[in-house]
């Protein structure tokens, strides 16, 4: 009997999903509730579980877009008995007794099948990824689902699991930029366990031969330029690291150096730097005049593209205000220790700002809305995006349902997301969505700025440094810690009354945090 598995309803507004990735192959035996594939909607990615045990028959390919209710695959439940014998070599061999296993299991049997691994769809807006590093070397034996490589997209870093068990043949080099669906590697599929070091002679020799025959193996000599090539490289103002050597073990030959075309270097390693030392016109000129050229990372490219498009496609302007930070500072001073003791997280400004913002957004919903075609989408919740400066560039993770979080809940979430951002571990889900953004240029010492909206959101609040300024309070000059705040907003849907009132409301809430408690 066959069971059809259909696309489940995944959310009210979602009418169609895309098959992100099949974790199982056609004809594989799957257990009930086992994850068989990943589906992506325009909001998020989710996993699809097998609704029964049996043999999988795939009906939709990776990248296909299906409507809710469409058939994804069939599971042949009758094949269960057979499959447990034929489809699972591990069990079969285990049952054949341990002695036999020791001799045979360790040696994988090539099946002759070559599995091609392609760049999976990793997210809706992602069209290109960069192969950041290979965890395995060419010719290595890889287990199914073993992580073989790391891939960077402009949003996040992914681990790439082996889609089959066998010998890895690397196609794409580290640093290569690849489009979705491009060939990454092939796996010469084999059955049985991994080869052990103490295996038979011929096996070892086979491996060795495979190693020396290939130029991609890491050798100390890889990238070493021959004397003539070295001279050409120097004269052309390029570096050996830019050139792929075709000589033995990746050595750079004279021809490699002569034919290298820096303008066609798009496929090359992005992290490698081409240092061009400019020849001084006269030898008497003092001082170095180095120029460095680096390829833009895909993250940087996306950031730049999006920022410009926001500038062009929205009616963005900024309103300012100033906040007396003394009350919050006093409050923090008073409860800092206790807060830390109780929640094991420091009480920072972020929680106050997030709280104030969520409260103000409730009152001015258009600031929390966004344009979708001819409609305005209002959000009953507040997902606050926080701009984080990460080593790879600007990241904007999201604090979900910030309106429901307590102070410690917000602080913990900020720490968690910032840490992940710093380590480059943020997932796409953690960066998508977001209805409003907070950015703090104050940590770098910014006094005042006009932030750019994080599209498709409609507003962004810029925080700045806190400086003691003379303020007129009740006809007297007082020195108070002041922060200027800036709200950039999309005038297409937010009017001056709303934006200004929103910012004034934020100011009120911050200057008198008791209001946060009472909601007044």
């Amino acid at each position: 009997m066959s069971l059809e598995i259909k696309i489940p309803s995944v959310g009210e507004s979602i009418t169609e999903v895309t098959i992100g990735q099949w974790f199982k192959k056609e004809g594989d035996y799957v257990e009930m509730d086992e994850v068989i594939c990943e589906l992506e909607s325009d909001k998020a990615a989710f996993e699809l579980n097998a609704e029964a045990a049996g043999v999988l028959h795939i009906k939709a390919e990776e990248g296909d877009t299906l409507e809710i209710g469409d058939v994804v695959c069939e599971i042949n439940t009758e094949a269960q008995a057979d499959a447990s014998l034929n489809g699972k070599p591990d069990e079969k061999e285990a049952s054949e007794g341990k002695k036999a296993e020791e001799k045979t299991v360790s040696k994988p049997k090539p099946t002759g099948e070559v599995h091609e691994m392609k760049v999976p769809t990793v997210g809706e807006s992602i069209t290109e990824v960069t192969l950041s590093s290979w965890m395995k070397q060419d010719g290595d034996f890889v287990e199914l689902d073993e992580v073989i490589a790391e891939v960077d997209s402009d949003k996040a870093t992914f681990e790439l699991p082996a889609e089959a068990q066998g010998i890895l043949r690397i196609v794409a080099e580290e640093g290569d930029a690849m489009e979705i669906g491009a060939l990454i590697c092939t796996i010469e599929v084999s059955e049985g366990g991994a080869p052990e070091k103490s295996n038979t002679e011929d096996n070892n020799q086979e491996e060795k031969a495979a190693g020396t025959a290939n130029n991609d193996v890491a050798s100390y000599a890889k990238g070493h330029a021959s004397p003539a090539a070295a001279k050409i490289i120097k004269e052309r103002g390029i570096t050996a690291s830019q050139i792929k050597g075709t000589g033995k073990d990746g050595r750079i030959t004279k021809e490699d150096a002569e034919q290298f075309d820096p303008s066609k270097q798009t496929q090359k390693d992005t992290s490698k730097i081409a240092s061009i030392k400019q020849e001084a016109v006269t030898p008497t000129v003092a001082g170095e005049r180095n120029v460095r050229r680096e390829k833009m990372s895909s993250l940087r490219k996306t950031v730049s593209r999006r920022l410009v498009s926001v500038k062009n496609e929205t009616a963005m302007l900024t309103t300012f205000n100033e906040v007396n930070m003394k009350p919050i500072m006093d409050l923090r001073k008073q409860y800092k220790e206790q807060f830390k003791e109780k929640y094991e997280v420091s009480l920072g400004f972020m929680s106050f700002f997030t709280k104030a913002v969520t409260m103000a957004l409730k009152e001015w919903p258009s600031v929390n809305a966004q344009i979708d075609g001819n409609e305005i989408v209002y959000h009953d919740y507040v997902d606050v995006s926080i701009a984080v400066s990460a080593p790879k560039g600007l990241m904007v993770p999201v604090i979900r349902n910030a309106e429901d979080l307590s102070f410690d809940g917000i602080e913990k979430e900020v720490v968690r997301l910032a840490t992940k951002a710093r380590d480059g571990k943020l997932s796409i889900e953690e960066m998508t969505g977001g209805t409003f953004t907070l950015t703090n240029g104050g940590i770098f010492g910014s006094m005042l700025s006009t932030p750019i909206i994080n599209a498709p959101q409609s507003a962004i609040l810029g925080m700045h440094n806190i400086v003691e300024r003379p303020m007129a309070v009740n006809g007297e000059v007082k020195i108070l810690p002041i922060m200027y705040v800036a709200l950039s907003y999309d005038h297409r849907i937010v009017d001056g009354r709303e934006s200004v009132s929103f910012l004034v409301r934020v100011k009120e809430l911050l200057e008198d945090p008791t209001r946060l408690l009472l909601g007044v």
Binding site: S219, Y220, A221, K231, E235, G247, K248, R251, T284
Partner: protein, 466 residues
Amino acid sequence: MKYDVTVIGSGPGGYVAAIRCAQLGMKTAIIEKYDTLGGTCLNVGCIPSKALLDSSEHYHNANTTFKTHGIDLENLQVNMDQMIDRKAQVVKDNVQGIAFLMKKNKIDVHHGLGSFIDKHLIKVTNSEGKTTELETDKVIIATGSKPASLPFIELDKQRVITSTEALELRKVPKHMIIIGGGVIGMEIGSVFGRLGAEISVVEYMDEIIPAMDKSMGKELRKSLKKLGFNFYMGHKVTDVNATSRSVTVAAENKKGETEELKGDYCLVAIGRKPYTEGLGLENVGIATDDKGRIEVDQQLRTKVDNIYAIGDVIKGAMLAHKAEEEGSFVAEIISGQKPHIDYNLIPGVVYTWPEVASVGQSEEQLKEKKVAYKTGIFPFKASGRARASMDTDGLVKVLADEKTDEILGVHMIGPRTADMIAEAVVAMEFRASAEDIARMSHAHPTYTEAFKEAALAATDNRALHI
């Protein structure tokens, strides 16, 4: 006359620089103090010494191994006059060859002493005292070196001599005392040792040819002892006294005991010193360091931006082929190219028999740098080719990186190793591993198989013929 480049000195550094400059389209002049071109190398160094080494080796073989080969000779004689005359002819042919090369490349040769007037003006004073002034854009100093001596030694050039005079001796010495166990001393000692002279070597260090891997000196000493050399290692010469007929050398050993050696010639071969006399460096503000060398930057440019210096007159090994590389290098630098010299890969050679040759790092250097290395040694005793020619002294040693197997140094002592070392230089320029060499076919039977075998031994101790 106005030139793009003027080269001062026509030794292997100078004339190569001049040719390369001319090839690159520069109007070039070369100044030579002596009547013939070629400098020390061609006139009183490399070439004449090799001529005499070959002649004396023939005599030595005729006298010692021919009988075993099945060749009986009677009345074997050394004809010293003929030997020196032949050498002179070899030198003449070579220096004329250089003169031809200058003409071919349209390089103006000015004979006379070159001296800076200023950085763009050089005065050439010929042997008759006539002067010419050359105007030039760039200058390459390639004035080379002269034999060095010790302050208390009076070089009378009759009994107390340098290599220059030794190459002109028309009588085989009875007992030649050589001060210095370096390359020059060993080569000239070999010439006269083979011809029947008693040779005594007094060396301050503990080993001869001390700049090379220690094992090379040890092996060479064994071979030279067979030739009748006496070695006084760790001896410091304290006095040299010459009469018209004899010379006495006093040397002190490490215990402070003084030994007196009496001979008919004393060869002072303690090295060479840079030669800049009369060059007028003071007129352009170039100073020399404590060893008399001209200081240069990485592009071999002196303190004065249009003046370069190459060869023995600057730092580095005093070798003709090092000077040649620098000659080409500077010519290319001047024309805007960006050449490179890997000084680690300039081979060193001693033309004794067995010959000694090496390139890269010695075991001592690797130990000092704490580099983990493996060693592969193959003795010529086990080489079929060496047995056939009765040249079984010596060995080939390959030093490779413990982890990567990259060849870090090659040291050879044995027949024709001076020629064999070229393979090691090529291998190392391409950063070959010991296994790379081990996997290349070497013609059989040749001496070069010993290199392959040593490489096999270094790879993982799997030499085939031992």
